[in-house]
Structure formats: structure tokens, C-alpha cells
């Protein structure tokens, strides 16, 4: 209780937190939803572009070049460019978010597949795998650790970027940061900024660790290396 009082005296308003729990929860959910859509759609698009690049190798360079450019466009500029076209909508937000996932995801998918050992591929082909079955049953599972690393990186990036979509009326936890900036000199403003930032970070860490856990579950062969 002492620390409670101390925090209050330095400006952090727990009473604001207490009064706005519902709102905080809703914005956290919104944050997660925006992230989930971006990663889900990003993954589908990346998988398609990766497949195309793997099948027709010369396309890989242009694909990474275009997605690389998308990755480097400042998000604010991108939204400014999109709003006149798609308006202040979730579509605008997602186009921005998705475009930041593509480079990371495609690179990791293609690298992961490329790194599947040649002897494994040769024996798979030699035993009569068709191309499609080989991809799904052999190459994809073996590339999984590298792909999941890409998904984790993309997810953490997107969780951070979602806050920027507050500028177009969404923003998840970024909503509080924006409000806080508008009330900057008041204790409530500080509290809002801290809550928005801290929860966004916590969310990133929790999601990252959960994905690491999922990877462990999906790659049982990486776990026990007894050596004989």
C-alpha cells in the first residue's frame, strides 16, 4: 500500500486505471485483433509470394526488393498516402501493418526452405514424394523454426506499429498514448502514456514467449538430443 501511495504522489493515477478498466481491456483486445489480422493476412500473402519465388527463382529478387521498399516507408507517410483512398478505416490500418510483415516473413520462409538439407530433399524425391507433398510434409516442417522466428519478429514489430494507427482512430493501446499526448502536462496524461506503452510492451513480450512455446511444441525433434 505504501508503494501505491508513492506512485500516486509522483503522478501515476491508479484511480484512473481503476475507473477505466473496461476501456483498457477493450483497447487491449483491439490491439491483439489488429495484430492478429495483420500477421494472419501477412502470412497468407507471404506464403504465396514465397511459393512463387521458390518455384521461379528469378522472381525472388524483385519480390524482396518491393517488400523491402514497403518495409522502409515511414508508417506515418503510408497512412497519409492511404487515407484519401481507403479512408479512416481498419482497411487502411491493416494495409499499413501487413506491408511491414511481408519482407520479414518472406525472407524467413524462403531461407527456411532453402536451408532444408539437400540429402533430405534427395531422399524424399528418390522415394517418390510429389512436389506438393514434399513441400507440405518435409520442407515446411523442417523450415518451421526459421519461419516461426520470422513470425515472432513480425509480430513484435506489428504490436509496436499498431499504436501508430491511433492517428486514424484505431490504435489499440496506442489510443491511450495519443490521449496522453493530448493531455500531456496533466497527471492523467502521464498515466495514459505509461499504461499504453507498458501494456503494449507486455503484450509483445507475452506473445513472443507464447510463440516460442508453440515452436517448441511443433518441433519435438529439436528437444531431445541425447546423442548415443
Amino acid at each position: 500500500m505504501r508503494s501505491f501511495a508513492q506512485a500516486s504522489s509522483t503522478g501515476f493515477r491508479w484511480d484512473w486505471v481503476g475507473n477505466n478498466l473496461d476501456d483498457i481491456w477493450d483497447r487491449t483486445l483491439e490491439h491483439m485483433l489488429l495484430t492478429l489480422i495483420a500477421i494472419g493476412a501477412g502470412l497468407v500473402i507471404s506464403l504465396a509470394l514465397s511459393l512463387v519465388s521458390l518455384r521461379w527463382r528469378p522472381l525472388y529478387q524483385p519480390v524482396t526488393w518491393v517488400t523491402g521498399v514497403m518495409y522502409t516507408i515511414p508508417s506515418l507517410a503510408l497512412f497519409a498516402f492511404l487515407v484519401p483512398i481507403t479512408g479512416l478505416t481498419i482497411t487502411t490500418a491493416e494495409i499499413g501493418l501487413i506491408s511491414y510483415t511481408l519482407l520479414i516473413l518472406i525472407r524467413n520462409i524462403v531461407t527456411g526452405i532453402d536451408e532444408v538439407p539437400q540429402d533430405v530433399i534427395e531422399s524424399a524425391v528418390g522415394m517418390g514424394y510429389t512436389r506438393r507433398r514434399r513441400f507440405i510434409e518435409i520442407e515446411l516442417p523442417l523450415a518451421l523454426p526459421v519461419i516461426v522466428t520470422g513470425i515472432r519478429l513480425a509480430t513484435v514489430t506489428v504490436i509496436g506499429l499498431v499504436t501508430v494507427t491511433s492517428l486514424i482512430g484505431l490504435g489499440g493501446l496506442g489510443f491511450f498514448i495519443l490521449r496522453g499526448l493530448q493531455n500531456f502536462s496533466s497527471p492523467i496524461g502521464t498515466t495514459q502514456i505509461i499504461v499504453g506503452t507498458a501494456l503494449s510492451i507486455v503484450l509483445a513480450v507475452v506473445v513472443d514467449l507464447s510463440l516460442a512455446g508453440v515452436e517448441r511444441l511443433l518441433t519435438p525433434w529439436k528437444r531431445r538430443k541425447v546423442g548415443v
Binding site: 533430405v120 531422399s123 528418390g126 522415394m127 523442417l142 525433434w221 531431445r224 541425447v226 548415443v228
Partner: protein
């Protein structure tokens, strides 16, 4: 039966074909070993049979069917394939690895389980290994899994590219022995690639010696190639010790045995001396009927009236009629008398001497 007819492979961007108009007939139930220097086209030839490499020219038929008439994945499911790096699937248990082709063929789970257990036993793999992942096995165990996986759907044909190249010599020798034991019951048509001429001689019913560009220099049974290399290249490839190598392929039963300096258990000293002088040796063996009793030297005869009075010495090593002349040579050179007695069970047959063996080498 596998027939290669004027098969050629040109890789794009290379001036000379990797394999140039190679014709080869591989009979059913035989192990044919392709052997030759590095880069001569052994792997390319092997891979053309299961279409991992598409021939540029010529035709290949397996069991009478042109391999191009079958969808490649179906062709491959009917041909076992083992490579040096083994290529086990790291993300699948040993059981699942062995079950690869049956799974592709859509066998039922129960049939697959039974088959996997049967195969584990066949290649001498402890059933407890089946639930492990490949990274949890030794090199030799992995190689056994590779063979079991290739045999899983009981394909009539097996292609093996340096299957024992990655294991140490002791394990290799054991795996080679096991392959021969397997083959004695399975009678697969096996095409095996190696650059080790000793492996070729040991495993091959027939050996194809290839030169750069897939040129077939000689194709025959190993004993015949060793006896009569068709040209300088083959002779050089076999090495200067090819006479000795050939010994491992000749069984003692293939040669005429000399009875050796032998006396009956009741022989007199004089008779014994006559026999020894006849062979110009200072020892003789005692044989009762067809039972080998032992041996004695000239000194043992001092002060005894007949062979019956002396204490026979035991033969330290004897040879069995089924042993090879190479084993005979080992025995002979390690005894100071330079001979070894040959038995069939416990029946005495005769003696092998260095002379007997060198006659065979010179032939």
C-alpha cells in the same frame, strides 16, 4: 532386370557428357556394383535409373518397362534408394522414417506398424530405437534405418550410392556382411555404387568398372575380372595386389588339396621319417582314418619306438573347407611350418601350403 541401352547424359554447360552411351544389363536378383574413379559417372548412372537425373539419350527399362512410361514418383516408390548421407527425415521418428514409402502408398496404419517392426528386426535394429528421432542414433544405426526404409515396401530393385561410405571401417565391414546376409534371403536386384574396389569385390555378383565419361571398361564376375583384367586401366584400378584380392573369392573347396606329410597312429619311427623326408619337412601329422589327431616333429621321435608312444601336439589353427584361400593364406603365414590342415567338420581333408596358394595367384 534393368537394361541400360546406349544411355547418355549431358549436363547443361559441360563440354563432355557425364555418361556417354553406356549399355549395361543388370540381371534379376543380382548385386551389380558400379565402381570407378571419382567423377566417372557412377552416381549419374544410378540416378538415371530412378529418374533423379533424366537421360539425354538412350533408353532404360526396368522389368521390361521403359522408365519414361511411368510417372516418376510412381517409378520411385517401386525402387528402394539409399544414399551415403542417408537423408533420414530429422523431424520424423525412426518408425515414421521407415514407414515413408508404405505411407506414400497409402497402406493402413496396422499393416505399416507390423511392417516397421518386421523391418527393424530384419536390419537388426533394437525396437526401442523406433520411437527416437534420427539425431538420437549412431551413424551405423542410421545407416540400418536407411536400408530398412528403402526395403519398406518390398521393392524388387534397390539403388545404393556409397551406402557405407560414411561409417568407420569396422561398422562398414559389419554392414557389408549384413547386406549379404539380407540378400541371401531377399534376392533383390541391387545396383550399388562405390569407389572402393574391395567393397565391389566383396559385394558384387557382377562388377562394372567405369572410366571417366561412364565408359564401361569391364563387366564381369569379380573373380573373372581379377583373373583376367581386360586392359591396363582395369589392372591399374584393381591394384598390384589383385592376385591376393582374388584369393578371397576362391574357396578351399575349389582347389585340389595335397594330403600332406601324414602318418597313421600306429606308424613306426622309420615310416614317419620316410614320410617327412618325402615332403622335406621336419614334422608330420597323425591321422586316424579321417580324424586329425595332432602332429609331431623330428625331435619328438627321439627315444620312442613308434608314433603311438609319443605325445601328439595339437594344431593351433585349422581351416574349414568353406574358408577362402585368403583365410588360408592368413593361417599359413602365421604358422612356422607354413601349412594349415583343412577339415570338413571334423573330417581331415588335406593340407594347404604357401605353394598351393601361390600357384593359384599365378594362374
Amino acid at each position: 532386370m534393368i537394361v541400360l541401352d546406349a544411355v547418355t547424359k549431358r549436363f547443361p554447360g559441360t563440354p563432355d557428357p557425364a555418361v556417354d552411351s553406356l549399355s549395361l544389363t543388370i540381371h534379376e536378383g543380382e548385386i551389380v556394383v558400379l565402381v570407378g574413379p571419382s567423377g566417372c559417372g557412377k552416381t549419374t548412372t544410378l540416378k538415371m535409373i530412378n529418374r533423379l537425373v533424366e537421360p539425354s539419350d538412350g533408353t532404360i527399362t526396368v522389368a521390361g518397362r521403359n522408365i519414361l512410361d511411368v510417372p516418376s514418383h510412381e517409378l520411385r516408390r517401386g525402387i528402394g534408394y539409399v544414399i551415403q548421407q542417408i537423408g533420414l527425415f530429422p523431424h520424423r521418428t525412426i518408425a515414421a522414417n521407415i514407414a515413408t514409402v508404405p505411407t506414400l502408398l497409402g497402406w493402413s496404419a496396422q499393416v505399416i506398424d507390423d511392417r516397421v517392426e518386421e523391418l527393424a528386426e530384419l536390419v537388426d535394429l533394437d525396437p526401442s530405437m523406433l520411437r527416437r528421432y534420427p539425431s538420437e542414433l549412431s551413424g551405423g544405426q542410421r545407416q540400418r534405418v536407411g536400408v530398412a526404409r528403402a526395403l519398406a515396401a518390398d521393392p524388387p530393385v534397390l539403388l545404393m550410392d556409397e551406402p557405407f561410405g560414411a561409417v568407420d571401417p569396422i561398422v562398414r565391414a559389419r554392414l557389408q556382411e549384413e547386406l549379404l546376409v539380407l540378400q541371401a534371403t531377399l534376392h533383390k536386384t541391387i545396383v550399388l555404387v562405390t569407389h572402393d574396389i574391395d567393397e565391389a569385390i566383396l559385394l558384387g555378383d557382377r562388377v562394372a568398372i567405369l572410366n571417366i565419361g561412364g565408359h564401361l571398361e569391364q563387366y564381369d564376375e569379380p573373380a573373372e575380372i581379377l583373373r583376367d583384367p581386360s586392359n591396363r586401366f582395369v589392372a591399374d584400378f584393381l591394384g598390384s595386389d589383385r592376385g591376393i584380392k582374388r584369393l578371397s573369392l576362391i574357396s578351399i573347396s575349389d582347389i585340389d588339396l595335397d594330403r600332406g606329410p601324414v602318418v597313421g597312429p600306429e606308424a613306426s619311427t622309420e615310416e614317419a621319417v620316410t614320410v617327412m623326408n618325402g615332403y622335406s619337412v621336419d614334422w608330420a601329422a597323425i591321422v586316424d582314418g579321417d580324424q586329425l589327431i595332432g602332429w609331431f616333429s623330428t625331435e619328438d621321435l627321439n627315444g620312442v619306438g613308434s608314433v603311438a608312444d609319443l605325445e601328439p601336439r595339437a594344431f593351433v589353427t585349422t581351416l574349414d573347407i568353406t574358408d577362402s584361400l585368403k583365410e588360408a593364406l592368413d593361417s599359413v603365414v602365421s604358422t612356422h611350418t607354413s601349412v594349415a590342415a583343412v577339415l570338413d567338420g571334423d573330417r581331415y581333408l588335406g593340407m594347404v601350403t604357401t605353394d598351393t596358394i601361390s600357384e593359384e595367384i599365378v594362374q
